[in-house]
Point group: C2
Chain length 286, copies 2
């Protein structure tokens, strides 16, 4: 039993925040629930930096390109509320779909060229849906600081750019990825993995690590670097690499040769029916 | 000489408004300058309804589909500032292009199906540019109320929907079109008309009025109604109708038969090198 009651209505959130806003800064952690220790670090950092902490839990239909993925997305609201309370959140916003989308969403955020590569190339409309719901949530909560995990690197880059491009008065804080001991990035989707799949899962991180090491050692030919990453992926019928790419860390455009700018080594891998993503930011050797 | 000094920097606007916001409501009138009595009614209404009034003057390159139109757009900033002062504006925001667009605008507002008809069909990207800059300006000023002319009916409908779809905490106020005695809607572009063109200009309103009258009399066949409008347009080599359309006043989709919902009778007409638009909202006879 938790004493932190979820707030569903936008008007209620606004009324509560109106009162808090004059007394100090508002930190905001938007999530899709199924909270894990990665989310906990976001909430804890917000708790340490802001007077009030708002968490939202909303599985956003607009960003799911596949209906089965939306339906199978894990939902654990009771446990999420307990965790939010333990971590000292002040308000948990849990809107229904009809609260955030009372009518057809006709106006959307187009993330343009930031969405054409990496996950964006494989999940049509996904980042349009992400950017749109994040804009809506930022407009409801109007936080001083909003926290996002670096695991979703393309999402974070798009949100940073959206905030700059739309002149939103919020500071976006990126929080480092939390990993299991074997390197697997924490993700709500990890809960779907079978024991056998779970053993295969860290190979995505190993592949990205192999590429990142090559770059840190001075390699510059992106195709050769990507080949070395692919050799780290086990030949297993249940494993399929969706992409392994190296892009400029700022504009997310593919690079052919490693230069002096920071790059993201990023990948998506299917294990059985589950899609995992991960990335490593690398500063090339000077 | 005016004592109301324009403010160019976003940070300066925010600092000034931060101070004012706690003392009462903020009204905002975004314009492209070249102010005429139509704008004056917007500013006056904001003055009557809000504690502080902010006017912006910014010729937004993102919404011009034709470079020559952007270059030829009238600019009268000194006179605009004097008018703003006379009407009691408290702050005039006059950003440079590099203030609002310090980098390439990668994220934009996609107005979706609201932009596929009327002007949107003839000015590719126009409403994307309008919605994007209005969102930016609303985020800089964060007004309680923002004022827009009904002359730009499609723009007003898109902004209303954007505000609802993105959960912006602002009230959008539509202000009736101001007309010359002969019916011509006031527009900054009217300044471009020659004496001969000016005499032809009211025929757009006459054509729309002819269609609106038919609807008010009970006509329902949209093609027949449009034919009657076209007959009101003079056969003159310098006059060209771009479109005359009848759309649902809410979702801006074309209607084939007049039903019970309000419609917009809207048109765009070229006179020489100048493009004029106008519209009439009609409540069908019950």
């Amino acid at each position: 039993m938790t004493s932190l009651q979820p707030v569903q209505r936008i008007a209620e959130v606004r009324a509560q925040l109106e009162d808090w806003r004059s007394h100090g800064s508002i930190g905001f952690v938007p999530t899709m629930g199924a909270l894990h220790p990665g989310h906990a670090t976001l909430i804890s950092q917000a708790r340490a930096e802001c007077a009030r902490v708002v968490v939202s839990i909303f599985v956003n239909p607009l960003q799911f390109d596949r209906k089965d993925d939306l339906e199978r997305y894990p939902r654990t609201v009771e446990a999420d509320l307990r965790l939010c309370e333990q971590l000292g959140a002040d308000l948990v916003f849990v809107p229904a779909v009809s609260d955030l989308y009372p009518a057809e969403q006709l106006c959307t955020v187009d993330p343009g060229p930031l969405a054409t590569h990496l996950c964006g190339a494989h999940r049509p409309g996904h980042f349009r849906g992400v950017a749109t719901v994040v804009l809506k949530l930022l407009n409801v909560v109007e936080p001083d600081r909003a926290y996002f995990g670096e695991k979703d690197a393309q999402q974070l880059a798009i949100i940073r750019r959206m905030v700059a491009d739309f002149d939103l008065a919020v500071t976006i804080v990126g929080v480092p990825t939390v990993r299991e001991d074997d390197g697997l990035a924490l993700s709500s989707r990890n809960a779907r993995l079978s024991v056998r799949e779970r053993r295969l899962a860290p190979t995505l991180h190993m592949a990205l690590r192999a590429a990142a090491t090559k770059i840190a050692e001075g390699a510059t030919d992106v195709n050769a670097i990507k080949d070395s990453a692919h050799t780290a992926v086990p030949r297993d019928p249940s494993v399929r690499i969706e992409y392994l790419d190296i892009v400029d860390a700022g504009d997310l455009q593919p690079v052919a040769v490693i230069g002096r700018s920071p790059v993201l080594v990023a990948g998506a891998m299917w294990i059985g029916e589950t899609r995992l993503i991960d990335n490593i930011r690398v500063e090339p050797r000077r």
